[in-house]
């Protein structure tokens, strides 16, 4: 008994055409869903810092896009003759709650390195793809999303609050990648620059991974106060660095930079103990160069590692981390204000003006 592709209600998508231009809420038909693809009903999208950068014109998209890549949704349809499994091999049914990787590697494309699928040629990225014709359902600011074949997606528990689940596929997965390249965390002293969602997630993940001490640095005291709820032992105002008047900042075995600020990256390297490792994640925009004292890097046997996006293992680890810990750390509270899809203009204005950790878009 072959099931026909059902007729779905037309969907809505908020089209972004460029900085300074208002979002346009457009309606469109659900396109046919091909083999290996999944039609998802988006349930919730959080606005990532990079979405706000795009909104402000600090980074450019190629034409019109449907922004939003921190998304959680429900499986609405896939070819019923396919036995669909998630990335971990769990069978998937219509109605299952899922999150998916921000990128999809094109079919028959080998990643440039096995551990870096996110750098494959011709990579497709949700929330960054051109919104054209009937292909507008490829981002979070829409009520549908069509998952391409080869998209790593994971079934998650419906108990995880939507606003927390949405952040798995960007913030938490990237942080999981940071921990992977930092090496062993257990027993290590960790300093985290930047107390946004990445920094706070990093605090919690390092705490769960057995760090012996965790410090958090930011320019904003309100954000630093979040720190203690997310595993941090101490918070430091960056404006006090270097501070001759109070005790010196402690050494760290591992420093994470979520800021992309050259002065913060410099300061981080200065804190590293013998054999220490600096993980740079935040520097995804042009900035002044980081001035590195190479003699210090050599004599202290330091490591500096950059990370952009994440790989499949990181995504799996992030989902596992959130599933195991969403009750322990109040990630829900970091979505400081919620809007509906038709309020997207107001939501971005708020995000840009008030700098909340996250703004959420409920999609109904």
């Amino acid at each position: 008994m072959t099931q026909q592709f059902p007729r779905f209600q037309p969907g809505k998508a908020a089209i972004f055409s460029g900085a300074g231009q208002p979002f346009r809420l457009v309606e469109g038909e659900v396109p046919p869903i091909g083999k290996g693809e999944i039609l998802v009903r988006n349930r919730y999208t959080t606005i990532c810092g990079s979405d706000v950068h795009t909104y402000c014109g600090h980074r450019k998209e190629p034409g019109e896009v449907v922004l939003g890549h921190e998304i959680v949704g429900e499986v609405l349809w896939f070819d019923p003759e396919t036995s669909m499994e998630d990335y971990k091999g769990n069978p998937v049914q219509i109605g299952d709650r899922i999150v998916w990787s921000i990128f999809a590697v094109p079919a028959h494309t080998a990643p440039p390195r096995p551990d870096m699928p996110q750098k494959s040629d011709g990579l497709f990225k949700y929330g960054h793809a051109p919104a054209i014709h009937n292909d507008i359902f490829n981002g979070g600011l829409a009520n549908y999303c069509v998952l391409r074949a080869n998209t790593a997606f994971l079934k998650i528990s419906a108990d995880i609050p939507l606003k927390v689940a949405a952040t798995i596929s960007c913030a938490h997965a990237t942080v999981a990648g940071g921990l992977r390249i930092a090496g062993e965390i257990k027993g290590k002293k960790v300093m985290i620059f930047g107390a946004g969602l990445l920094g706070l997630s990093c605090g919690a993940m390092c705490r769960q991974a057995g760090a012996s001490w965790i410090g958090l640095v930011d320019n904003d005291n309100t954000r630093l106060q979040w720190g203690t709820k997310f595993g941090a032992d101490e918070g430091y105002l960056f404006s006090n660095y270097p501070d001759q008047h109070t005790k010196p900042w402690p050494d760290a075995d591992i420093v994470f930079d979520m800021t992309g600020n050259a002065d913060a990256m410099n300061a981080g390297i200065g804190l590293l103990a013998l054999g220490g490792c600096a993980v740079w994640i935040g520097a995804v925009f042009p900035s002044k160069p980081v001035q590195i004292n190479a003699e210090q890097v050599v004599r202290k046997l330091l490591t500096i590692r950059g990370l952009h996006n994440y790989n499949y293992d990181d995504f799996v680890n992030a989902a596992l981390f959130v599933e195991n810990n969403y009750r322990k750390y109040p990630f829900e509270e970091l979505v400081e204000k919620e809007f509906k899809l038709h309020e997207v203009e107001t939501a971005f204005g708020f995000a840009n003006r008030e700098k909340p950790v996250r703004v959420g878009i409920e999609i109904s």
Copy 2:
């Protein structure tokens, strides 16, 4: 039958008192050799670049020293009631040819990290220790050396030319450490900045480790010409970088810096392919900062790692590399001129003026 400590001929040592002051050749009695110590008859010492730096006053020693830490010698005596074994557990006899680590960790001292014994508190370094009273036999520019307990030493074949064996304990061991932290070499494209002994050894080691392509960069064409004999596929004059007129320099998966030159380190990072790793070894002196484009490090997922000296595994691997390959690569030819111990002043003058890859001191 307890063997008494025999009387040895008094020894000679060339004392260095500071830049601009002539070496003094002094004579001294052999001190009593304690349990776990070894009296070595030095056979050959090569003058390392860092010795020349000290000679010129670019780096300072604490008082008078016997320079020279690239040394090969013969076991002359140890407590006959001790069953002496080298670092690999091979039994050692009087008369055996040995090389030893440039450092000795004090007894009952735990290294700060298991993989970094060279950074232990109170570390003793041959060729860098104060030459005082009857403790002048602790460097290469003398005809004896007293090996402290806890010195990692290795028995080596007497077939290895002395001038090649001498360089195991500094140049080759450091390069072996560089390969260790660079990760997998097999199939990788490698660019090496600096065609001195470290760079040439690195070329040969990477060739043996299965690199798919090896480039060598230097300011000196003569040195670049050595490259092809030491595994390099191509040589590049650094003065031609960046060269708009000829083909662009190729990307590299791994870049080694043996120069300590900030411009070279910058250029090296610029050549790195996705996921590439820069290993910095040369920057053991103050220099202008290296200007790092952090966005490039992040988006290309690059790694930068510093190395100072080496650990025991590196020392073992270096000795193995030399033993297996001294016939394949003409390391002998890199010791461009030889002197006797009493000609040490002339030797350093020559080394400083003519910049040979190495100058050798035959010790008889």
